[in-house]
């Protein structure tokens, strides 16, 4: 039993921290979500039930946030993964300037989100003094500009997705490049001798070989995109509801600390709804990939 005690002793710091900062808050969130009309100041509530969930689901701001989040997920995850794969394939097949390109593609990853946000502002925001650079370009080619930051919904969503894809791609390119590099060249040589075309080699050899990595990127991509919030703030400011660009995490934050905040019950309910969505999607991903991913 002594050795057992020692083991628990070693585990204690981790258990303590996880308990205080992970497990307890998680339980607390569940409790909050069921307490109706909870009041911070008085630490009181009027009843127990699903009223918080009912309220959140009928809140137009939440519905908007849900819609935005889903759009961002559905657009950015496949596009960023696909584009990253293309770029990684390109990077692994060139020799000249390879390092330069690798650095260029990796830059967004080490650049501060807010700095990137500023750059996007210059690209997409019309100010009193000048139009956005993209608009100047559009007009140069005879089109009519559009206000990407305060204009129509589709324009804002376009900038949002563009931004998200651009920010998440460096990491994916990095991971995919190393996955491609780890495939034994002999397989490609064997496939060439076996008479396979480049397209077939990619589909039949490369893709299965790197499928665990692609799968990892898709799963983490989904989860990351569902948790989007800071990028939205960087582009559209803190009042996301007004801009109509809020996300679920943003909604949770607003319910707690926003100008109209102070409703931990609503925040907790929204957070749990998000958890349920992410859980379901990840589960579906796992199910779908079971036969496609080759762990060698």
């Amino acid at each position: 039993m002594k050795s057992n005690l020692k083991a628990w002793l070693y585990l204690l710091p981790a258990i303590l921290f996880l308990g205080v900062f992970m497990v307890y808050p998680l339980i607390d969130v569940c409790v909050y979500s069921l307490e109706e009309n909870y009041n911070f100041a008085r630490q009181s509530f009027t009843g127990v039930g699903l009223e918080n969930f009912r309220h959140v689901l009928s809140d137009p701001y939440f519905v908007q946030a849900l819609k935005n989040t889903f759009l961002i997920v559905i657009i950015t995850v496949p596009l960023s993964t696909g584009l990253s794969l293309l770029i990684a394939l390109g990077l692994s097949s060139i020799r000249a300037l390879k390092n330069l390109y690798q650095t260029v593609f990796f830059l967004p990853y080490v650049t501060n989100t807010l700095a990137v946000g500023l750059v996007f502002m210059i690209l997409f925001r019309n100010t009193e003094y000048t139009k956005a650079m993209v608009n100047l370009l559009i007009e140069k080619f005879g089109g009519t500009g559009v206000d990407f930051i305060e204009g129509p919904y589709w324009a804002k969503m376009f900038v949002m997705c563009f931004y998200t894809i651009w920010v998440v791609m460096p990491f994916k390119i990095l991971i995919l490049t190393s996955a491609l590099a780890s495939v034994n060249q002999n397989y490609y040589q064997a496939a060439r001798v076996d008479g396979a075309s480049s397209a077939r080699i990619f589909r039949k050899i490369t893709l299965p070989m790197i499928s665990p990595t692609v799968f990892y990127l898709v799963i983490t991509g989904f989860i990351g995109a569902f948790k989007a919030y800071s990028d939205e703030v960087a582009l559209f400011g803190t009042n996301l509801n007004a801009a109509g660009m809020n996300t679920i995490v943003g909604y949770v934050y607003d319910m707690l600390y926003g100008d109209s905040g102070g409703f931990p019950g609503y925040a907790a309910a929204a957070a749990l709804i998000l958890f349920a969505i992410v859980f379901t999607i990840t589960y579906i991903n796992l199910m779908m990939s079971r036969n496609k991913v080759q762990y060698i």
Binding site: N186, A190, V193, D194, G195, A196, S197, P208, Q294, I296
Partner: protein, 361 residues
């Protein structure tokens, strides 16, 4: 399919600024007759794998031509050459079953060569039967032993009936017993299919035992090509003599004087009509015959019993190796406690090489 290499040369750029190019294959000229099994033999780094890659098309030659029959294939990419290649590590696609691996080359066929699904599986089954793995078709490569993986690799290379079958160190990943078994198997498969087969090896015994012809290489240069026994019996230079045969041939500093081969002060053999001067005298282990009146005296070291034969280990002041190994029938009595042992030499087991050029004299 006859394979002809004409003046084939492959240079790799040297690393760094000062380094000269590395010539992996240097002005190769030879012709491989149709339907033969060829062993490409040489020490590590002699360019034999590069030669194989040139024939497969994975590497392009710096100079020279490669012909399959009358067709110049030098400029053709590997997929259009119709070769089968078995890699040293087999390179079986790990995510495919054995059957999928074997069918893969057939699925790549386009145009009029394209087969129906049934025909492909029929062909794959035939190839699998040939190498006796037809009961393993549903397995993944990682579930197979090394020997089985190798058979799958051969089946995959053979399934589209290649014009030339190439094998890169096909037996080096197998254990000793399996290696013996597999090389006979290789011979059988080659006989049954009649495909011109070239295999690379650094193991001279492997090359000698199954090849119709062996090609000995060193530093990218072709040394000798011929039937195994011919090359063994008539090596053109010291390198070939030393590379073939186990135990290794024994080399002595000697000279030709007065029509005799001299090692030290002893005239060990007649050498009528040979140019006088210093030579290397190379004697095969089986060239020594114990004879109390023999002309060649060595200091006795020990005797190693091998069953059918014994190996007499002795030394001599003019030898170049660590010791002299001679193989003698176990029935001939040899006194291992004697100070010296005297030998008579079999003339056809003794080769003389020029001191400078190391070419046969």
């Amino acid at each position: 399919m006859k394979v002809v290499l004409e003046n084939l040369t492959k240079r790799f750029p040297g690393r760094g600024k000062k380094d000269a190019d590395v010539i992996a294959v240097n002005r190769f000229n030879f012709e491989i007759p149709d339907g033969q099994l060829i062993g490409l033999l040489g020490p590590s780094g002699c360019g034999k794998s590069t030669t194989l890659n040139l024939i497969s098309g994975l590497e392009t030659p710096t100079e020279g031509r490669i012909l399959f029959g009358d067709q110049d294939v030098t400029a053709l990419p590997p997929e259009e050459r119709g070769v089968g290649l078995v890699f040293q590590n087999y390179a079986l696609y790990p995510h495919m079953t054995v059957e999928e691996n074997i069918v893969f080359p057939l699925e790549n066929l386009r145009g009029e060569k394209r087969m129906s699904k049934e025909a492909m599986h029929q062909k794959a089954a035939e190839a699998a039967k040939l190498v006796q793995i037809d009961h393993l078709m549903e397995r993944k490569p990682r579930e197979l032993s090394g020997g089985q993986q190798q058979r799958v690799a051969i089946a995959r290379a053979l399934v589209k009936i290649p014009r030339v079958l190439l094998l890169d160190e096909p037996l080096s990943n197998l254990d000793a017993r399996l290696r013996l078994q597999t090389r006979e198997e290789l011979r059988r498969i080659q006989r049954e299919t009649g495909v011109t087969t070239i295999f690379v090896t650094h193991d001279q015994e492997e090359a000698m035992s199954i090849s119709d012809l062996i090609v000995v290489m060193k530093d990218g240069i072709l040394q000798q090509i011929g039937k195994p026994q011919e090359v063994y019996d008539e090596p053109v230079n010291l390198f070939v003599a030393q590379f073939l045969g186990t135990p290794q041939i024994n080399v002595f500093e000697g000279e030709i004087r007065g029509g005799k081969v001299m090692i030290g002060k002893e005239a060990v053999l007649d050498a009528p009509g040979k140019r006088e001067g210093e030579v290397w005298v190379a004697i095969r282990p089986e060239g020594f015959m114990p004879d109390p009146d023999g002309p060649f005296t060595c200091r006795m070291d020990r005797i190693e019993v091998m069953g059918r034969d014994v190996s007499v280990v002795s030394t001599h002041e003019k030898m170049t190796g660590r010791n002299i190994r001679s193989i003698i029938s176990a029935e001939i009595p040899v006194d291992s406690r004697a100070e010296t042992i005297r030998f008579r030499l079999r003339p056809n087991k003794v080769f003389l090489f020029d001191r400078e050029s190391e070419a046969r004299v």
